[in-house]
């Protein structure tokens, strides 16, 4: 999945520090100001229903007759959720978009595991087709790589539904990197919004093929949907390319504007990009940063 050179490149990278992880389970290498279940005491607050009873400071209760809980400084363990679209449209393109998605997911997984972050992967088409919950440790890399390797493109795109389904199954926060082409007529913003609602922080990585950005059409041809070959073909020629490209840009811009409004990372990469260019794009979008 990753070559030695690519691994060496990834060793110098880390996930972007602007992301706020929801839950941490072990010591990682990330220091944050976020209050969490860590060792170092930070502050007291009044007990609220639902708080862990073990965090009640009974000394204060005995003295002040008030239930207070101890707030400790979190040690910044990120829970990284890799959501990879494996619908049939991801098989389109030359090179196909799923290869690029898999490469990127693998890179993010490697970085997270090396930083002792928990990382999990889920594949989806019209629903979640496979789910490997986030976990830390090197064995998780291999489990994730195996999941990614075994995945094959198929099914129709229902991104919002798949994201909603996934958000409903996870607990706690984390960074949810959604890697897809985001080709859904009804849009995928509802799914992203639900991720936010469920405490996940989406990062949007749209992967498109070069021929999807710049279609090479001179004569009249019939276009067939890869996910629904039985659907009526659309007749296209050189005169319809401009309208398509405008629609394409409008769709991507809508996604980008949503992410910008919600302070989310968003980037669009081409499936023909080299590994270096892919990482550079992630760094530019704030998804990755140089480790230091």
């Amino acid at each position: 999945m990753l070559s030695a050179d690519e691994a060496r490149l990834l060793d110098r990278l880390a996930l972007g520090s602007s992301w706020h992880a929801a839950a941490t389970t072990a010591s990682g290498q990330r220091h944050t100001r976020t209050r969490g279940a860590g060792i170092e005491f930070q502050d007291f607050r009044h007990y609220q229903p639902g708080d862990d009873p073990r965090s009640i400071d009974w000394t204060v209760e005995a003295r002040l007759q008030q239930l207070v809980v101890r707030i400790s400084r979190a040690d910044g363990h990120l829970r990284l959720h890799l959501l990879v679209d494996i619908s049939r449209s991801m098989a389109a393109g030359s090179p196909d978009k799923f290869a690029a998605a898999r490469k990127l997911a693998a890179a993010l997984c490697y970085i997270a595991v090396e930083r002792r972050d928990a990382v999990g992967v889920a594949t989806f088409s019209d629903t979640v087709t496979s789910h490997l919950p986030p976990a830390a440790g090197r064995p998780q890399i291999f489990r994730i790589f195996q999941t990614l390797s075994a995945a094959t493109c198929g099914g129709r795109s229902r991104i919002d539904r798949a994201l909603i389904d996934y958000a409903g199954t996870v607990r706690g926060g984390g960074l949810a990197v959604v890697i897809s082409d985001f080709y859904q007529a009804s849009g995928s913003l509802e799914g992203l919004k639900y991720l936010l609602y469920r405490g996940l922080t989406p990062a949007v990585v749209q992967i498109v093929a070069p021929e999807e950005l710049r279609p090479d059409i001179s004569d009249e041809i019939d276009l067939v949907d890869i996910e629904d070959p039985a659907a009526p073909a659309v007749r296209a020629d050189a005169s319809t390319v401009a309208a398509y490209r405008a629609n394409m840009e409008r769709s991507s811009a809508e996604l980008g504007e949503f992410c910008a409004r919600n302070g989310l990372s968003w980037l669009r990469v081409e499936s023909s990009m080299g590994f270096d260019d892919l990482l550079h794009a992630c760094m530019k979008a704030g998804l990755l940063s140089a480790s230091g």
Binding site: S218, E220, D222, V224, D225, T240, N247
Partner: protein, 591 residues
Amino acid sequence: MDLINPGALWFLVLVAALLLLARSRARPRRTVANLYLWAPPEAADSFQLTLRRLRRHWLLILQAAFMVAVIAALARPVFSPHSRTAVLLVDVSSSMAAREGGTTRIDLARREAQSVLDRLPSSTRVRLMTADAATTDLGEFAAGDAALARALNDIVVTAAAADLPHSVRSARIAGGRSAEIFIVSDHAVALDSEEGVRWLIAGRPAENRAITVLAARRLPARPDDGVVLATIRNYGGAAVDSAVEIIQNGRTLGRQPVRIAARSSTTVHVEVAGIGGTIGARLTDSDALGADDERFTLVDDPAPVRVGVVGTSSFFLEQALATNRSVSVTALGGAALLPDQFDVVVCSGCDVPPANAAATLLIAAPAAFAAAAPLSVSQPAHRLASALDVAGVGGAAAPAAALPPGAEVVLRAGPLPALVAYEQQGRRVADLRMSVDAAGLPLSTAFPVLIDNVIGWLSARGERVTEVLAGNPLRWTLAQGEAGASVSVLGPDGTPREATINGRQLTVASTSQPGVYRIIGTTVGRGFVVNPVTDGESDLSLTPPAPARPPGGVDTERSGTAADITSPLLAIAFGVLVMEWQARHRAAGRL
């Protein structure tokens, strides 16, 4: 616009096949990740949709346009700003038979005519007409019709002269106001109007000689012998030595050499013993036009006029008749008059012509004559008054009586008719209403002249034309009783010629061929000759060298009138091909 080669339009089937193939051709299919982004924008209106459709099929449209342009060029379209009817008027007068190298002017004329026909749109209606003494309409054809070419080849030259201005007027009437008239001739003449007229000149100036006059007369002293006079004209620019053969009834009597100076005439006199029948003259050397190298004439019939006298003859009348050597007089006395017994019957003391009489001289015998009065000629142009001098001569006329219908008073004695001429029941009657015994006219020198005129008019001797120019009709008055006869006319080649009889009027109109014609079935004559027209036809130097402008500013050209737009169509096709190539490369992004 018309098509010279309409059959090329069948290639349009290929254009239809191209369109069908394009329509049925399976468009390439491509699998894409989504279709919703490919939905076309809503068209503003049907015009936008049409434009989009045209843009989509622009290459196919250009390819079809290229094929259509090439096919249209193959069809050879011609655009003629002029009418779609034309008249081809071919001069078939005598001069068109002139030799031009190894061909003749009429052959050159046919080639000129055919070249014009080849340039006309095949659907043009062409009326073919010939011009000689008359204008003959040979029918209307399509320009590309093979029958027109055959009719053109079947045109025969005559020995007549052409009246081209008259023929052009006939052509305008036949072809219509908008018809274009093509005149094929060896010379152009001034017309009333040159509008719509195109001259096609065939032939070049040439040297020529012709026998222009041939006459034969019996010698008065020796009627059995005669003299032949032949005039030969040299129309050329150099003197010529030639010879004239004199022929009688097909037998050559002799040959007389002649030398004719340039542009001048020479007359030959030849005495012929035992002259009679048909006399011909022929030039022995050949020149450009052979039709005018021969000429014929008929010698007068020496037989006397048979005159029968009925009733009591007058001394003076007998003397007057006796002095005429061309008359044989027979007194019938009381014998019955038989039909056709005499050419002229003199009926003394008759008021009406006797039965069985042909032409009759009535000599009045009234109970009393009016007082003598000076004679005067009332009809000087009448043959009865020919050379008649009655000045100072008096005569006693019969009392006035009703004149028959159509009667002409030739001579008057004072106010009274003295000599009346008329025709009654197909026979001529001269009514001499004067006394032939009293002093006055009978004693004058005018009386025998008058009697000679009367006999000549009644017998119609010399009145029958025996020589006509080619193209002119022959008209004879048949003898009484021959009105319903079957008269046949044989041409010089022995073939029958059409002859029409209207009452006693015999007309032979088919005289285009020169030579001796025989008439069978009438007693008024045995035949006549047709001679070629030399005036205006034998002078072959009149033909201007092409492309000189004939007198009158006539516009002469040898080209067609329709504009062939094949080349512009081919240029358009090439332009469309370039556009298609550019559009294809632009679409492929290689420009």
